[in-house]
């Protein structure tokens, strides 16, 4: 067995011999500003994570002298044994001066790591611990007001539906997903009555939650099956609330068999490309401008704890330098429908059309807003149930 011994000794020798190689790194970095971005999914997922990766690229282009370090797929399925803390340690070793943690799932870990690095600013996307006081002082929260994007999506769905039945492929149930599904519902009702002259109460809106942001076999419901079930039960427009593309894929398959069905994907601007002929449009995030603001704040020593829920830039919600959320029209909308959607966007921006305005009841009939009453931001952020008239679980 001497051969084996030798092998191992050699391994050790090689490891040690190569050590000095590493000493000569780190020179010539200049006055570079490094920022870290931690992604939960693949950087090229055509969804949530890619939108954040693109934001990092946007910062590099628009703020001279900046460089992104990123790590994607930080989730227990893809990267066993790697913790947020280790990644942040590595990024700090690389000189990162601010860290963006871009998943709801990172909320608790961000707090822990931020407490360990009290002088390093963190931006946690989509959480509210900066607002509730759970987070240390160096954590800010940022989120775009996707409620409007979802309302516009709901509007497009209501303009198109023939069966008067809209489906919503939901992820897990929490404050965020409840208020987004409710926003789509409200947008649908508004446009159904205004542009099609129908009674919004005859519109069905069915939400099915799969149990997580994406399919985990054996744990969540299979989104492909759920999508098919929804179409089988009379839905002809399916909105996606999950990270992956099942809604538009299934709609495309059924359209290929001659059914008249459509879909509205989510998160990523070019998600319609999966199957343009069934796509009514995509509500998407545009994180770049916010990233630039935070990077510049840190550079100027002006970073502070805050909780931001950023509204669209109403003059042009698709302005990539200004609007945190947008809506890209899909090829399956007719020109007339596109005009109506555009008008709805304009009215939302001017305040002529309001989203969360009474009379509205919660799903179980509890009054939520009196007639004419507008919801305060907290009432929307922490929407406790779905709304009356929506079908599907509230918890």
């Amino acid at each position: 067995m001497r051969g084996r011994k030798l092998l191992l000794v050699m391994l050790a020798v090689i490891l040690l011999a190569a050590l000095p190689l590493t000493a000569c790194k780190k020179a010539g970095q200049g006055e570079e500003f490094v920022f870290g971005v931690i992604l939960v999914g693949p950087y090229n997922d055509h969804g949530w994570s890619e939108a954040h990766y693109n934001a990092g690229k946007y910062v590099e282009q628009h703020v001279p002298g900046t460089r992104m370090v990123y790590l994607d797929k930080l989730n227990p399925a893809d990267r066993k044994g790697t913790t947020l803390e280790q990644v942040v340690d590595d990024m700090v070793a690389d000189g990162a001066k601010i860290i963006f943690t871009t998943s709801d799932d990172f909320a608790a870990d961000t707090d822990v790591v931020a407490a360990k690095y009290p002088d390093l600013p963190f931006v946690h996307i989509s959480g509210d611990h900066a607002k509730t006081g759970k987070a240390p002082k160096n954590v800010a929260n940022y989120m775009g007001q996707m409620e409007y994007g979802k309302a516009i999506a709901g509007c497009a769905a209501a303009l198109k539906t023939q069966t008067k039945t809209i489906g919503y492929l939901g992820p897990l149930v929490n404050d965020e997903t409840r208020r987004l599904a409710a926003s789509a519902y409200l947008g649908a009702r508004y446009c159904y009555s205004k542009y099609r002259g129908g009674d919004p109460n005859e519109l069905r809106f069915i939400v099915t939650w799969i149990g997580f942001w994406f399919n985990i076999p054996g744990v969540t419901l299979d989104p492909t099956e759920v999508a098919n079930d929804l179409f089988n039960s009379g839905v002809d427009v399916l909105l996606s609330g999950i990270d992956t593309t099942e809604a538009i894929v299934v709609a495309g398959q059924r359209a290929d068999k001659g059914e008249k069905v459509w879909a509205i994907p989510y998160d990523y601007e070019n998600a319609c490309d999966v199957k343009p002929e069934v796509c009514l449009g995509t509500p998407y995030f545009n994180w770049g401008p916010a990233y630039v603001r935070y990077v510049e704040a840190v550079r100027n020593g002006k970073f502070k704890q805050e909780w931001v829920w950023d509204p669209p830039y109403w003059k042009d919600i698709n302005d990539h330098d200004k609007s945190p959320v947008g809506f890209k029209m899909g090829p399956a909308l007719t020109d007339a429908e596109k005009k109506q959607v555009e008008e709805y966007i304009k009215d939302l921006g001017s305040g002529k059309a309001k989203l969360f305005v009474g009379p509205l009841n919660l799903q179980d009939g509890t009054p939520y807003l009196k007639a004419g009453e507008e919801a305060k931001p907290d009432q929307i952020w922490y929407l406790p149930q779905l709304l009356q008239g929506m079908e599907g679980a509230s918890k």
Binding site: L11, L19, V69, P76, G81, D104, V112, F212, V219
Partner: protein
């Protein structure tokens, strides 16, 4: 030994490393990266600071424990691929304890270790029973039980143990601080974990080498029928081997929850169980070589995320390095045996 045989041996020892480096170099060049920069980044990522070295120790603990367990089952000629599930079972048992018992650290931490041992031992026992009395090959039994354990984890994380804010992939809510293994200074390494893993490995080494039970296990491993004829109770001892291996793997899982993640996460076993099979294989089933192989695997694992941060390379390059070494080690050994066979046909 002639100089020629000695040269052959050195060649055989070096060949897998050389071949792996050549292969990864080729892959890195294809990816448009500088291979030496990549190797340098792995090394600096693993060794540049005391904290990094502590991280290596953190990664070594579960590998040492699982490998120690595997040595026991391998000695009895059993391929216990179920370590992965046994690790999970230990983690589940520990989490159950922490979720249901509020007590000071001095009580809960020792109990958590015991819970881990018991959980893993139970899972090992099941595989052992299926193997001996069910007559199902332990590989299938183990894989099946791995699947059950991970499905159970997912169910618990997305069901009864989900945090009040809603289930997430990041697992249960963090344990209360009383259930956190103390860590060394500002590092992530826990002295208790390190000591337990060292004790486990030394213990297994002693047992296999110097006890009657160790001898019986090896007898079963060499020739199960002969052992039976000599009056060794094969079923009982095989089941016992599974229990011991399971207990050690369960301890590894338990420490992952109390010392590393401080909560239960999906895939708490992190593939360490499967990796430990390779460790034991590369060590030639010998306890004394396990630490070095474990050290190598852990260093590569700790160092390789740096590839992505610094060079935009996928950090699975680290996995390719590990796998390459194993693959070429087996290939070289296979070729050597083949090439030797006609020369010295009577040796074995």
């Amino acid at each position: 030994m002639t100089w020629r045989a000695r040269l052959t041996q050195i060649g055989v020892a070096l060949a897998p490393i050389g071949l792996t480096l050549v292969m990864t170099m080729f892959i890195l060049l294809l990816a448009g990266a500088d291979p030496f920069e990549a190797y340098g980044n792995i090394l600096s990522g693993a060794f540049e600071s005391p904290k990094k070295i502590a991280d290596i120790a953190v990664a070594m603990v579960p590998l040492l424990l699982c490998s120690a367990g595997m040595l026991v089952t391998f000695a009895a000629g059993l391929w216990n691929i179920g370590v992965e599930g046994q690790m999970i079972a230990g983690a589940l048992m520990t989490t159950w304890l922490v979720e249901s018992l509020t007590a000071p650290a001095g009580v809960i931490l020792p109990l958590s270790v015991v819970a881990g041992l018991i959980g893993g031992a139970l899972w090992g026992l099941l595989v052992g029973l299926i193997r001996t009395y069910g007559g199902v090959n332990e590989i299938f039994a183990g894989l099946g039980m791995n699947f059950v354990a991970s499905a159970l984890t997912n169910y618990l994380i997305f069901g009864p143990w989900r945090p009040p804010d809603g289930a997430t992939m990041s697992g249960t809510d963090p344990f209360p601080p009383s259930a956190w293994m103390p860590l060394l200074g500002t590092t992530r390494a826990s002295l208790v974990s390190i000591l337990l893993s060292v004790i486990a490995l030394v213990g297994v080494w002693l047992v296999l080498r110097g006890t009657y039970w160790g001898l019986k296990l090896r007898a079963i491993g060499r020739n199960i029928r002969a052992a039976q004829r000599l009056g060794v109770s094969t079923h009982r001892n095989m089941i016992l081997a599974f229990i011991v291996c399971g207990a050690l793997a369960g301890l590894a899982g338990s420490l992952q929850t109390t010392a590393v993640y401080r909560r239960l996460i999906p895939q708490i076993s992190g593939g360490y169980g499967y990796l430990s099979q390779l460790v034991v294989l590369l060590s030639g089933l010998r306890a004394e070589w396990v630490p070095l192989v474990v050290f190598f695997f852990s260093a590569v694992q700790v160092g390789s995320p740096r590839l992505e941060l610094r060079m935009q390379l996928d950090s699975s390059m680290g996995g390719i390095l590990q796998a390459g070494i194993v693959l070429f080690f087996l290939l070289v050994r296979g070729f050597r045996e083949r090439w030797r066979a006609p020369e010295r046909p009577k040796e074995e």
